[in-house]
Symmetry: C2
Subunit: 254 residues, 2 copies
Amino acid sequence: MRTIKLLLAYDGTDYVGWQRQARGRSIQGELERALAEIEGRPVAVVGAGRTDAGVHALGQVASVQLVGRIETSVLVRALNAKLPPDIRVLAAETVAADFHARYAARRKTYRYHLTNGPLASPFTLRYAWHVREPLDLFAMREAAGRLPGRRDFAAFQNVGTEVASTVRTLHSIVVGPGAAPFPAPPAPGSPASVEVAGEGFLRHMVRIIVGTLVEVGLGRVEASAVTAILASRARERAGPTAPARGLFLVAVDY
Amino acid sequence: MRTIKLLLAYDGTDYVGWQRQARGRSIQGELERALAEIEGRPVAVVGAGRTDAGVHALGQVASVQLVGRIETSVLVRALNAKLPPDIRVLAAETVAADFHARYAARRKTYRYHLTNGPLASPFTLRYAWHVREPLDLFAMREAAGRLPGRRDFAAFQNVGTEVASTVRTLHSIVVGPGAAPFPAPPAPGSPASVEVAGEGFLRHMVRIIVGTLVEVGLGRVEASAVTAILASRARERAGPTAPARGLFLVAVDY
């Protein structure tokens, strides 16, 4: 029995999310199906981040235990041949037997893509949240600067999730002008991005942070109000949950 | 009656092409439906380039004659409200009464996006042709350099199309390292692009040029052979027709 670490990229648009569900196609389900075909027995895959429906990954990590003697380079090719083209295995390596993709993760980085301007590009509909009214990136940066550190992020968690603690460590948050959408359309407007790195995240935490920063960027909430929102621990004080389609799990560090 | 020039961008993935067809959704059909709702009567739209199924546009131009007195800025908003999100009107302007988007076009620019490397990104499946084996861009450039000018491009036209003449003027062709796909995945490989500008193009001409350049890039055809392929006027001497999904109509000049 070997433990294998897989590096994955996927377009989450057409999936119910990472996690296997009673109905619908999941990333985990597709991987387990492909691995079961290779191993000839049922296989369970553990993902570092359980991305929601519509959320994408550039660098998701998963762990799996295999009995077969297949070489890792051959495993990558075999998996990609069996997976749909919107899920790709970028790399595979044999790791310590007790490696667990979720429990061993020290740091996760997410990036959220926004487009801003009067017109939404037809080419980023699946990969960005379009905001029509002008966004003040300076105000968004000022608000974002109040978030890093070890804090109680209860106000930035979706309602109805039960967790032992809502305290999390946010390492950094960078509000950038964003990568150019592919292909860049001649439409007026510009891209923006919010990149967040932390030890771990509450359910919908990144999307609620982005929704709150957008409220600040639109001038509806003062940048300084973020401190009071954090202190309130009240979900209704924070901004809306930004749509899933703009969110990418960029990297998981161990 | 006013003549209006429309500037359009669209993701052609889910369309049968620019032109109205007996079955399936076309870009022209969607525009005519939206304009008919605004005008309250049937409206005919002329497009500068009749892009094929799956081909995209960043700067398609269309002309239409309207009787209503709607302001052009209001027309842009009204059309975008009625069109599906993968078709956007970027601008509208009133032009000379006899302006015809197709006959008046002096120059069209197309760009073809390629990705190259062992893995295809899940994020450019709709917008690029993925070639696994390494492409020699220098050889592709050498081959491309033999194409510009006023020439008989009969070898670069799809079989079965009847035209009065297969002579066309190609202004320029640039083989570039390409724009970064959005979002850039951590997969090994790199993008490339072929940008072509000309007075007019034969059916599938850009895609056959790209298919031929890729054969050169893969080392299957010598760069110098392009001269003999042109002279042969024989479609079977040129390379395969590159898939529609990588092609973008970038601009039309008048």
